[in-house]
Point group: C2
DNA sequence: GCCCAATTTGGTCGTACGCCCAAAGTAGCA
DNA sequence: TGCTACTTTGGGCGTACGACCAAATTGGGC
């Protein structure tokens, strides 16, 4: 669809395509996944409606492409920064601070939830998103093991990943919910020592 | 809109209204909140499209009414059964077993997530759902305090509530995710003792 | 057995949608 | 400079939607 010829023209097409993707991402957060339309994307991207169907097979194709890319990058960035911390306290503090930046009602938070939901009805998105989440969990588990968590790093990482998304969800309904106030319970969750790890 | 007259006719109207609500709930899970249409609800309920706008001001009004009712009842039931357990171990085991019944792709799970998402764009739903969640958290915190959790019951309850919804979300993408395997970390999370509760 | 309010019917109106396509435009390459 | 592939334009087709309403129907109260 865009392969094997001149360079400059290809670059122009790529730039337009990227603008369409960016516009789609904004709109998913603003109006919701299923209310993103050909004409809406085109208007936001400063293009004609017909262009959308030149670059993408369908509106759904555009949305899946956009969502997969941005979620993968988001999870990758968080994992990279989190695992750069060499102890649980500072890592958790950073994570909770980062979580505070997502109010649950901003476009990025909504996009994440919309993508989860859409994945249950779109096989390709289901596969790609599942792989991204799985990778995130594995990375967190490795980080925990590196910090000396010997008992159930995989389970702890799974709970942490779910909790993060759950908090984004709940913060949308309760703006007063402060992630930083949850450090105590979460620290216990991620610590492997304590009185009950094997039984 | 349906007040102050004969009984039998009112009952008939109520029954029809209930059928519309039930149909709407099913469809939200099947096709998604924003793809539920007047005609779809009517067909599922075995009624004519015009009826929807006799009983409800709009399709959105119908969806908000339906979702608020069912989520409130769902949270109430879970809270009631959970707090009936008099120790952490059996309570947590029951909760994780119950969680196993929601695959994340069944209509009930999807409805919950759809409602969360829709609440960010519909003020009335935002208010009602926020109150329901807040009540759930408070109930869980009370339960924990009753079990001797003295340090940070509110924070622990908040994390637990978020984790539950997060797990429903993640299970939709990963059917192999077994809630029962997460008892260890979650038990640490909810226990108040341990080595780090005050600092 | 009649009356009237509650309920249901069946159809219409205007709008917006996704997808498609023929034609025009644009820019590297020979 | 002319060729060719890539990109963009602008409009059109068929479909489905939400909302609305006048007329018909139903059934309990008098």
């Amino acid at each position: 669809m865009a392969r094997g010829a001149a360079q400059g023209t290809l670059d122009r097409g790529r730039a337009t395509r990227d603008r369409l993707v960016a516009a789609a991402l904004e709109l998913v957060g603003e109006v919701g996944w299923s209310r993103v339309t050909t004409r809406l994307v085109a208007e936001r991207a400063g293009a004609r409606p017909g262009l959308v169907h030149y670059h993408f097979a369908s509106v759904e194709d555009l949305l899946v492409t956009a969502a997969t890319g941005v979620v993968r990058q988001m999870l990758g960035d968080v994992l990279g920064e989190l695992t750069a911390h060499r102890d649980l306290d500072t890592g958790l503090a950073w994570l909770l601070g980062e979580l505070g930046r997502y109010t649950g009602t901003d476009p990025a938070s909504l996009l994440l939830t919309e993508a989860f939901l859409a994945a249950s009805r779109i096989p390709r998105l289901h596969t790609d998103l599942g792989a991204a989440i799985s990778g995130f969990r594995a990375g967190v588990a490795d980080w925990l093991r590196g910090l000396g968590h010997t008992a159930d790093a995989d389970a702890a990482a799974t709970v942490l990943a779910a909790t993060i998304d759950g908090l984004v969800l709940h913060r949308a309904l309760d703006p007063d919910l402060d992630p930083a106030a949850l450090a105590g319970p979460l620290h216990r969750l991620l610590a492997s020592g304590g009185g009950r790890t094997t039984t």
